[in-house]
């Protein structure tokens, strides 16, 4: 998690703060981040659909967005093209 990457402040107060965060808002944060990621994939689909053979939009202006999306392209394609199974609906 992103929280672990940061250098932690010492002291009992910080430990207490982390515990409260873990108990209360960590799950909400995860949900927000996951929703955001799904939307990112939706966004790439409607702008870069051609990459999967789904032409959605005249490509001239979508090319302008390509540089910003470059790092996400491979994970996005994997997600869009993978086979779905029952665990998807459970998760």
């Amino acid at each position: 998690m992103a929280e672990q990457d940061k250098p932690k402040k010492s002291g009992i107060f910080q430990v207490f703060k982390d515990i409260v965060y873990g108990m209360s808002s960590h799950e909400m944060t995860r949900h927000a981040v996951r929703s955001r990621a799904s939307m990112e994939h939706l966004f790439i689909l409607i702008t870069m659909g051609d990459l999967l053979g789904v032409p959605i939009l005249p490509p001239y202006y979508s090319l302008r967005l390509l540089p910003y999306i470059t790092p996400q392209i491979s994970t996005w394609k994997r997600r869009m093209l993978r086979e779905r199974d029952i665990t998807d609906t459970l998760g």
Partner: protein
């Protein structure tokens, strides 16, 4: 009203378009009009958005893809080379990817996408569309004269602005919602701020470009659209239909120019039956045009004895058109 009066009484109409079916003389009339305006001391840019442009032919000078080429004092002509523009644009995108991520070369998957995107038929139209925005946004000239492609394309060109605009609105909204999730996550994590969304910035830029162009094309104050037709049944019917369609896109129609009218003086001489029939036929349809379009017709242009190429012929036609 004559064509001359329209220009003199509406000096604010700076974006001039001639539309009509293919082969009726749009290029000839736009070149003539540009020539006349330049002779009046206005700075004029005549440009073609047609992939098979013929400005080079009419001015007997190769101007394709060379930017704005001076023709006479105050008159420049430009033919947009869409292919080259697409190539430059692709390279710009590739370079941006290299610069942003410090790659040595563009990843294969991305590169093949860039290459295949340019094969799309819409790419060329969009590239031209964007080039026109470039030209107009600079605002270097008093008059911009569009040598438009045949009607169907012209309508496509105009409707594209609307479609693009709606599409951009939708994804901009989605992007803004994504920003909200970012902010929620950041707040929950007690982060100070979120990164500025570069994509949203780009979307707003694209929206601005599209709006700039469609705003001008449908601006009743500053744009003038002239229909070119000839006295023939099918052309009259098609023009009527097209005029209705254009009205739906809010394109301000300033008037009609009837081209290729056979001179009545011919009747005086002894002429073959073939020619006589043509003159009679034209007379009938000229009557139709007068009764339906009436004073919206700004000029009747005679059929000349030879095709209009080169400056002396253009000058002669300008004298007839703006007398």
């Amino acid at each position: 009203m004559s064509l001359r009066q329209v220009f003199e009484s509406h000096p604010e109409r700076r974006y001039i378009m001639f539309g009509g079916k293919g082969g009726l003389g749009k290029t000839t009339l736009s070149a003539t009009c540009a020539y006349w305006l330049a002779r009046q001391g206005k700075r004029v840019l005549l440009f073609s958005v047609d992939p098979q442009a013929s400005l080079s032919d009419i001015f007997q000078k190769d101007i394709f893809g060379k930017g704005a080429v001076p023709i006479i004092d105050n008159l420049w002509a430009q033919e947009i080379d869409a292919d080259k523009r697409i190539q430059d644009y692709q390279n710009e995108i590739r370079q941006k990817i290299l610069d942003m991520y410090g790659f040595d070369k563009v990843p294969e998957e991305i590169d093949s996408y860039i290459a295949s995107a340019s094969a799309e038929p819409a790419m060329e139209e969009s590239a031209i569309f964007d080039a026109v925005v470039d030209i107009i946004v600079k605002g270097d000239y008093d008059y911009y004269i569009y040598d438009l492609v045949p009607l169907g394309h012209a309508l496509y060109y105009l409707s594209m602005a609307k479609v693009y605009d709606e599409w951009i609105n939708k994804i901009t909204k989605l992007r803004e919602e994504m920003g909200q999730y970012d902010r929620v996550a950041a707040t929950l994590r007690r982060q100070e701020s979120v990164e500025e969304d570069k994509i949203l910035e780009e979307l707003r830029y694209i929206k601005g470009r599209i709006n700039a162009s469609s705003r001008i094309l449908t601006d009743k104050q500053r744009a003038a659209f002239f229909f070119v037709l000839v006295p023939e049944e099918m052309i009259i019917l098609d023009t009527r239909k097209a005029a209705e369609l254009f009205a739906r896109f809010d394109v301000p129609i300033s008037g009609y120019v009837v081209n290729r009218v056979l001179p009545q003086e011919l009747r005086a001489g002894k002429i073959p039956a073939y020619l006589k029939n043509r003159i009679n036929m034209q007379e009938k349809y000229l009557g139709d045009i007068r009764s339906t379009l009436g004073n919206q017709v700004l000029a009747y242009v005679p059929e000349m004895e030879r095709d209009i190429t080169g400056l002396p012929m253009i000058e002669r036609l300008a004298e007839r058109l703006f007398k």
